[in-house]
Symmetry: none
Amino acid sequence: MIPQEIIRSLSISTPSKIVLLVMDGVGGLSMGEGTALEVAHSPYLDTLAAEGTLGLTDPVSPGITPGSGPAHVSLFGYDPIRYQIGRGVLEATGINMRLAPSDVATRGNFASMDADGLITDRRAGRISTEENRKVVEILKKSIREIDGVEVIIQSVKEHRFVVIFRGDDLDGRISGTDPQVTGAVSLDPLPLDPAATRTAAIVKKFIELANQALENERPANTMLLRGFSKLPDIPSMEELFHLNPAAIAAYPMYRGLASLVGMEILQTGETIEDEFETLKQNWADFDFFFLHVKKTDSYGEDGNFPKKVSIIEEVDRMIPGLLELKPDVIAITGDHSTPCLMKGHSWHPNPLLLWSRYVRRDDTTRFTESECTRGGLGRHPAVDLMPLLLANGLKLEKFGA
Amino acid sequence: MIPQEIIRSLSISTPSKIVLLVMDGVGGLSMGEGTALEVAHSPYLDTLAAEGTLGLTDPVSPGITPGSGPAHVSLFGYDPIRYQIGRGVLEATGINMRLAPSDVATRGNFASMDADGLITDRRAGRISTEENRKVVEILKKSIREIDGVEVIIQSVKEHRFVVIFRGDDLDGRISGTDPQVTGAVSLDPLPLDPAATRTAAIVKKFIELANQALENERPANTMLLRGFSKLPDIPSMEELFHLNPAAIAAYPMYRGLASLVGMEILQTGETIEDEFETLKQNWADFDFFFLHVKKTDSYGEDGNFPKKVSIIEEVDRMIPGLLELKPDVIAITGDHSTPCLMKGHSWHPNPLLLWSRYVRRDDTTRFTESECTRGGLGRHPAVDLMPLLLANGLKLEKFGA
């Protein structure tokens, strides 16, 4: 990984246009007849593979299964170890809450507890989103401020919500309160660093006030909090890469991740076709586009192999329209693998397709994991993709004399 | 990359002989019929490829296009990020000026300015080398010392020259004076660190004195300076690898780079044949030879594909003579790629051929980029080549018990 001060000094703004097309979780494992990429009928992707070059990337490091946060942070060209995004921040940005640098955000689960204070259900029976909104309204009315710190509460869905603590000198280094088992009391929020002592005390008071306010509610009469965090102090893609980047993502979490690195978030619809239409409509105004396709991951999580295949085929049909825009550089990859066999994220490297006038062509002819394994790019950390994209867009000057 | 203190502790001196044959910029891109390596008829290189093993190396990091400095620093086994060589130092060592550790060197361009002090030509119409020498003589006579700092000026060629400031407490962290455009005044040399304040003032005075001395000259009546730098504090190859290394390079800059890491610079001629003859003549006296072939890069920069091919074929014909010397280890590679298609350095990885009694043979049979892509060495940073060479020469002891 090239140090930030070097990439910053080498990158220049040019009119060339880069498209980073992420099929979330697209890499997989064979369930007998091959992986989803191998089984998919994808003539346009295959043509790009033949014209371009293939490789494999490790989102974080071999064997490490990443969440969506680090997987995207590294795709965007940032060290995923250095820039860890807390669950609270991820959840808050995912529902379009604007965070200030001094805010501490946390993810909350509504839960049920009995008369002795023992947790009987860590998700309050997965209450409906409507019920969630009702409970959040009760909390909003009862708790607005604690010791000069503003408290902002927002529903996510089902049992999930977000709390933002807004004030001076707050610190996110606080332990979570989820005991991870039922039949136990919830844990106290504890400062993991002396600097977080006051914030932990405010969080504790918040939980006490919330428990009082929800005393008569059932099943959501308490809450478990985890992922206390602040915004990472991360330079924008404009600062670091001198790009003018835009993000197209139907799912909020990915818009949130893109906004953390300063991408302009474009309004788009629910479908893959909508996303590509948004790309076309905004083509003139940006030099870097992150286009995120969620459902390859969703169907991977569901273990629904035929549906995962069909999403790849749907993306394939978008490629001619993409090429009509005359992009200079296209990368097509996943953020992490989500094999249907595992019904979840995995550590397997991402297939990567890189297409530009300046790639060193290899003899690969299909966009599949096995072809990527023998592709000309070899295997490298995902964080190195961004310099490769900039290089292929002729957006990097020479390093050293 | 293995830490320096470890490689230093593991390396031992043995009689085995290593040849690092660098075909500058040899890697390329296809212009239709294949890359220069693919098109070249190179039966001897191909035999070495079949007997040895192949791979790809990244000079600095994926996507980064290196100058000759960092590209060679990494081939010599040093971290190119840690040991950055300034343009001034590179230019000075390239014309065989000996630098002291306290010297500050800078590259200069003669330039033309009008009566208002605006730069009208940043290269003074690319004056002849003869004219350059005449102007440098005028400067030498007028300026020998400023505030106790010795000033040493030397011609390079055309509009280029070098200035060395020699004295105590000098600091190279000074901004360049080239405004990069005509019609503007030249910039003041500014200290980029408070420690460089005095040096910047001396440089400023130098420019004033030079402008006075050149008042009546045309077209070279002023100068632009950039690349102020000191020698990097770099351990020699003897210290670090316990080698007794020699360099054979027809071009001065590569002799300069080799001298920075303590190689003995062998006198040689202009041709590739001369260089191999020099190798033969000095075979008994060293255990490591760096042999540099420049013209693969020059013809890449010119976009002259057939000539690039012919240089590879010329090197190929030298291989039987090289083998007659009975080297223990041969590496053949580039320092960076210079595709004729791009007429310049590029970020594409270097093809690498490693030959010794102890390589793990792969099934590759030609020394080409595509064969290197599927070679047994895989793809790794160029800085890792030196430990591999030492290992194949049985010059590294076991790490740990």
